[in-house]
């Protein structure tokens, strides 16, 4: 193939890894968001404390430091996980910490009258949560979750620094061997843009749809 298309094939191979990483880390982050978010509102204080420590730790340190820690330090404890697993784990846990705040604040944003109406209709606490609070809170979460997903996609590039062969890693490697710096790094930027921008448009569309529905 002719330049720059010969580069493109290799970059697209990395793109697949980037997408995989994004999807799995997002799923993990989603689950963690709810578990940690609800733990922060639990009546049982040790659970609340653990959740707070978790979020403080993941939000207070730095994503790249966390990745390095898993990559350089864990093997010292004879824990050997693949770079892909490490990437998914750390990205998921990190974005889960941010997501838990989204879950918590959305649930707290639902007026108290909604809970009270449920109580007065004699619903069980679990019914109030699942049938009344969560469906409404979820609508509030969607736009922020959407934006976090875009941030997550962009953050996956960091895993290239722990040798996972994603799009960024492939780009850096090809640049090293071919020295076609401008083309390679330009293409990398364009590919990321093509992945992220549809997400941006999708989030905006959802956001509009939700606010129109509410007004």
């Amino acid at each position: 193939m002719h330049p720059p298309f010969n580069i493109l094939v290799q970059l697209l191979r990395g793109t697949v890894v980037t997408i995989e990483l994004t999807v799995f880390a997002a799923l993990l982050a989603f689950v963690i968001s709810f578990i940690v978010g609800f733990s922060r509102m639990a009546k049982f204080w040790p659970l609340r404390a653990i959740a707070i420590i978790y979020t403080e730790f993941f939000r207070g340190t730095s994503l790249l430091v966390q990745l390095f820690w898993v990559y350089f330090v864990l093997p010292l404890f004879n824990v050997n996980i693949s770079a892909l697993a490490a990437g998914i784990l750390i990205l998921g846990m990190n974005f889960g910490a941010y997501g838990s705040e989204v879950v918590r604040s959305s649930v707290l944003a639902i007026p108290k009258g909604q809970t009270e109406a449920g109580v007065v209709l004699n619903m069980k606490p679990s019914q109030i949560t699942w049938r009344i609070i969560l469906p409404q809170a979820f609508m509030i979460m969607i736009p922020t979750f959407g934006n976090n997903l875009i941030e997550l996609l962009k953050s996956t590039a960091l895993v290239s620094l722990i040798t996972l062969n994603d799009l960024m890693f492939q780009g850096k490697m090809i640049q090293n061997t071919t020295l076609r710096t401008t083309e390679v790094f330009g293409l990398v930027l364009v590919i990321y843009f093509c992945l992220a921008y549809p997400l941006t448009l999708g989030v905006r569309w959802l956001e509009r749809k939700i606010t129109v529905g509410r007004a």
């Binding site: 007026p111 009258g113 909604q114 009270e116 109406a117 109580v119 007065v120 209709l121 004699n122 619903m123 069980k124 606490p125 019914q127 049938r131 009344i132 469906p135 409404q136 609508m139 509410r214 007004a215």
Partner: protein, 264 residues
């Protein structure tokens, strides 16, 4: 209409006994003793902050009394008897007794993510365990009663305030409570919508069976539907049949309150 002499003989539907309620240091209610007979309609009036809402919310477990006991239909609400001793009720007991009471809020509190029909069906299906088709039938007939059978598939935000409040009433009624608390159900409404909601309330009252605790600022309405009017200000200051309380109040505070109302 019931007279007080008649109601004294039967077991009351609601009994507040020595109820006190404080929020932190703020004493809101002191030593409330109140019995409401089955199917009696009691209107509660009083100045803002006098504890009317608090009184009603305690009956549906939204506020916990600081001391004293409340009974609904002969059953302790906040306590239960274990081996002859009163102990604080657990969630299971609260749910059981609370099933006898319903409440309509000033701010409607409809579920915005559900259609009108689902708002009314949700609790019968998931709390009472009534089959869906049957619950739907009941919900529709209840919505008919409040004049909203045409709005089944609309969402709350598509309805006027008066319509929303009528849905809230249907939602409470469909649970067939023995006693209902109405807390200033017309206060959040535009003036032109007050009438339609009061009309529904009057119909429920005239059907006769429902025991009602109606907190209201609508004196004319209280006079019309209530068997008894209570004027309260942290405690029960004066009570009696509407003609007596409105026509010839004895207590000076009641007089002041009512005169302020007439002038307003």
């Amino acid at each position: 209409m019931n007279t007080n002499a008649e109601t004294a003989k039967v077991q009351p539907m609601v009994r507040y006994r020595n109820i006190c309620k404080s929020f932190g240091d703020l004493k809101v209610l002191t030593d409330i003793n109140l019995e409401i007979a089955p199917s009696e309609k009691v209107a509660v009036i009083g100045p803002s902050g006098s504890g009317k809402t608090t009184l009603g919310r305690m009956l549906v477990t939204l506020e916990k009394p600081t001391s004293g006991t409340i009974e609904i239909d002969g059953e302790m609400l906040w306590h239960k008897t274990v081996k002859g001793e009163l102990v604080p009720a657990d969630e299971k007991h609260l749910r059981k007794v609370r099933g006898n009471a319903g409440m309509v809020f000033q701010q409607f509190n409809l579920f915005p993510h559900m259609t009108i029909l689902r708002n009314v069906m949700e609790a019968p299906v998931h709390v009472l365990g009534i089959p869906k088709d049957k619950a739907k039938e009941q919900a529709i007939s209840m919505l008919k009663k409040v004049g909203l059978e045409a709005k089944l598939d609309n969402y709350p935000r598509q309805l006027s305030g008066g319509q929303q409040q009528r849905v809230a009433i249907a939602r409470a009624l469909v649970m067939h409570p023995k006693v209902m608390v109405f807390d200033e159900v017309t206060s959040a409404l535009d003036p032109e919508m007050v009438g339609e909601v009061l009309l529904v309330l009057k119909e429920i009252a005239e059907e006769g069976n429902m025991t009602m605790l109606v907190i209201t600022h609508e004196m004319a309405f209280a006079q019309e539907v209530a068997d008894r009017v209570i004027f309260m200000e942290g405690s029960i200051v004066e009570q009696g049949p509407p003609q007596a309380l409105f026509g010839n109040p004895h207590n000076q505070r009641t007089q002041e309150f009512l005169s302020r109302f007439r002038n307003a």
